[in-house]
Subunit: 295 residues, 2 copies
């Protein structure tokens, strides 16, 4: 990169070393969600699609019928959720609304250290010979496919989809990307053109002049304390979120820990019989390290 | 209180013991602010009233003139503030916007752990004999005036104004008081009538049937981590706030620490020549205890 003035200006460095992790697979998100849906229904769960949760219901244990109750001298709790299709009451309510969690909790004055942030993915089809060769490289694994790749310096991610002959490209930008709740976040053409593309093409010239054919945007629920999931209970409300983008990777563990909290168990049993102390992901007795792989 | 069914329902307890602190004075806020204003002008400072700060200006160190810059590969900084009366550029910008701080910082994706919360004060004139006697009690001090009083159990505050023959009453309610930025927060009649009054009158029957003649509301900038002030610098922006309601009590110390940070000094010299490590109130190397007196 030293000879390339643009690269120098962008602070890009030569690749000193590549690390390939054969055990690091790729998750099929749709397949995973379908599995959980089926299991949930099998266990007797009920799913209602197209229902908008409007706000959580606060109730005093001993309602007195005075206006605007509860007041501070009344012990009170979360008693369920008000939706656009009616009220659902519950002994325990679980709030797992992703990037929308702080909106629900701010209304109750409960801090959760989660903030929403837009993230974007751009799709480039492997149209030309150079990109095809990159996508179906046989040098890394028996699948004959480029592994999920993270570029050095700026952690741009390249997620290959060999079945669809396409690459997904993304970058989790920090300053000055706003914390902001958007109902319909949109991908930004300039973010590909002037941000991702400029770095990408220096390391993989195969992408030269290639433009995305599609793109999408969504919201991360960023845990601004340490990037790890947040699982705690307060006033009969169980809050589950803040996985900062790696929620689907951690979904199995998060679900088991939330279930253990619901059942007032001290430890959750994770996959592989590993014990996990439920309070380690709480807010009051939190005991986790900073998440370092946020992409 | 044991014989009083209402009090029992409200969880009120008898006063076990009263603690009087002769050295704990009352601050005249207007007087304090006037002093700082005069000192600031004397030092050559310039104050512009009626100017609305709209947002902070982000600039790359090496602007390239591309749309929507800076991008993540451009090193960038806060270069000043955009106001409704024009742009003010600065080498260092100090953001001390109280409850509005998170609004400015969320737009840049900078976390500060400050959230706005409404607080209310209700003013009761000492009209009847019982209240006059309470206000001008001679039992505590040479001023012949009720001290600033905090009730037990629920920390309702009573702030006497002997000159104006009035009491101020307030309570910093938590759950479910929302974190919410309101441009023009309003006091709630019900909050006095059903919340403060109900508790107050059990301990001080002198207030029986007395209603506020005026009231006002404002916003606290609550530090949800530990309630202590937050003073840190990031990208040429110095953030000063989050004193959670006791900002005016700590203003002198906060100002000195912020000035030391501005001057890149490791320690600030507080009143009485006490040294204070500037980074102890930062976010990255924070080292403070939880604030326990938030009223």
């Amino acid at each position: 990169m030293a000879d390339d003035e643009e690269a120098r200006l962008m602070g890009l460095k030569d690749v000193y070393k590549g690390v390939f992790i054969p055990k690091a697979g790729i998750v099929d998100a749709a397949c995973l969600v379908e599995f959980y849906e089926k299991e949930f229904l099998r266990l007797g769960g009920e799913i209602r699609f197209g229902v908008k949760a409007e706000n959580l219901i606060i109730e005093p244990y001993e309602p007195l019928g005075i206006p605007d109750e509860p007041y501070f001298w009344q012990e009170s709790r979360i008693a369920g959720v008000k939706t656009d299709k009616g009220v659902i009451k519950a002994r325990k309510t679980i709030l797992a609304a992703g990037a929308w969690i702080p909106q629900f909790l701010d209304a109750l004055g409960i801090e959760c250290f989660i903030k929403p942030k837009k993230r974007q993915i751009f799709c480039i089809p492997a149209k030309n010979e150079a990109l095809k060769k990159l996508l179906f490289t046989k040098e890394f694994n028996s699948a004959g496919c480029l592994p999920f790749t993270i570029l050095p310096n700026y952690q741009i991610l390249i997620r290959p989809f060999p079945d669809e002959e396409v690459f997904w490209l993304g970058y989790a930008d920090e300053f000055p990307r706003a914390f902001k709740l958007e109902e319909d976040p949109q991908p930004e053409k300039n973010f590909y053109q002037y941000a991702i593309y400029q770095v990408l093409v220096k390391y993989f010239p195969q992408f030269k002049d290639c433009r995305p054919t599609s793109a999408f945007a969504g919201l991360y629920g960023i845990n601004t304390l340490d990037g790890q999931p947040i699982i705690f209970e307060e006033k009969d409300l169980i809050v589950v979120g803040g996985a900062s983008g790696s929620g689907i990777m951690k979904a199995d563990a998060i679900g088991r820990i939330a279930a253990a909290l619901y059942n007032s168990e001290e430890y959750a049993l994770l996959y592989g019989d590993r014990k996990f102390k439920v309070s380690d992901l709480s807010l009051k007795n939190r005991r986790v390290e900073q998440e370092k792989l946020i992409i």
